[in-house]
Amino acid sequence: MIDPPNVMKLKVCMAGEGAVGKTSLIRRYVLDEYEDRYTATLGTKITKKTVSTKDSAGTPVSVSMILWDIMGTATLRELLKEAYYHGAQGILAVADLTRRETLVDLDGWARSIRSVAGDIPTYAVLNKADRDADRRLPHAEAEAFFRERDWPWTYTSAKTGAGVEEAFRGLVDRVLAWVL
């Protein structure tokens, strides 16, 4: 008889400025859909997805992810940080390769989340990889930024789906290695 896998709940907070693609990444990851029209997120949206994986010892683990999609409005961030980030175990930090400032802004988001949730694992993505012609962020600059913070990262495109599964998987693996 095969033992049922361990089940763990995992609260992940999306981080990043408005319009970097946080909602679209969740939509692509969970529903495999993409909506071209931009709709700014108001308040908080919660989406759940269960994934099967293995821990570092090779034991099967069923991870029930609770993805918190939070409005990318930095001005309300400090006021709402306890409400949003309490109990978070992982951060998916999202920047937009067509807007250079969204990379630097990630420090503020990560700092805010960590002030509530502690030094939790972070995985970063440079989204909108399908728009390389509009790129305003050199690869080397992104690489240096993420390396300095020890955040693994990848390019993603919520539009095409490229890199999306890898990013969420990468975060889950990092969190599992941290908590187990």
Partner: protein, 104 residues
């Protein structure tokens, strides 16, 4: 017109650039005109009231959110914070307990 805005205009979406982000207050107003019980818009309106210095009004709006959706994400923790800001420690503790129940 920058490529970003041309693309958004073609797709019918909002224009998005570092200089042209939607103002939360405008989004809230539009959402509440469509649906006066939009909990997301009410939650953000509560936060905007508090940010503007009116904690009492923010709490009143937040209470409305929690009447409509007692499991609104982060709602009880935000309520706990606002009661704490008002020096209402008992109400803050009670809201924190409700948060633990709501979020398991």
């Amino acid at each position: 017109m920058p490529a970003d805005e041309r693309r958004a205009e073609r797709s019918g979406g909002a224009r998005v650039s570092s200089f042209h982000r939607p103002d939360p207050a405008v989004l809230v107003k539009e959402a509440l005109e469509r649906n006066a019980d939009d909990v997301d818009a009410l939650f953000v309106l509560a936060a905007l009231k508090v940010q503007g210095g009116d904690v009492r009004e923010g709490l009143s709006i937040l209470d409305r959110v929690l009447r409509i959706d007692p499991a609104y994400p982060g709602g009880w923790l935000f309520k706990a914070k606002l009661h704490g800001m008002q020096g209402e420690d008992g109400a803050a503790r009670s809201a924190r307990r409700r948060a633990e129940e709501a979020e398991g």
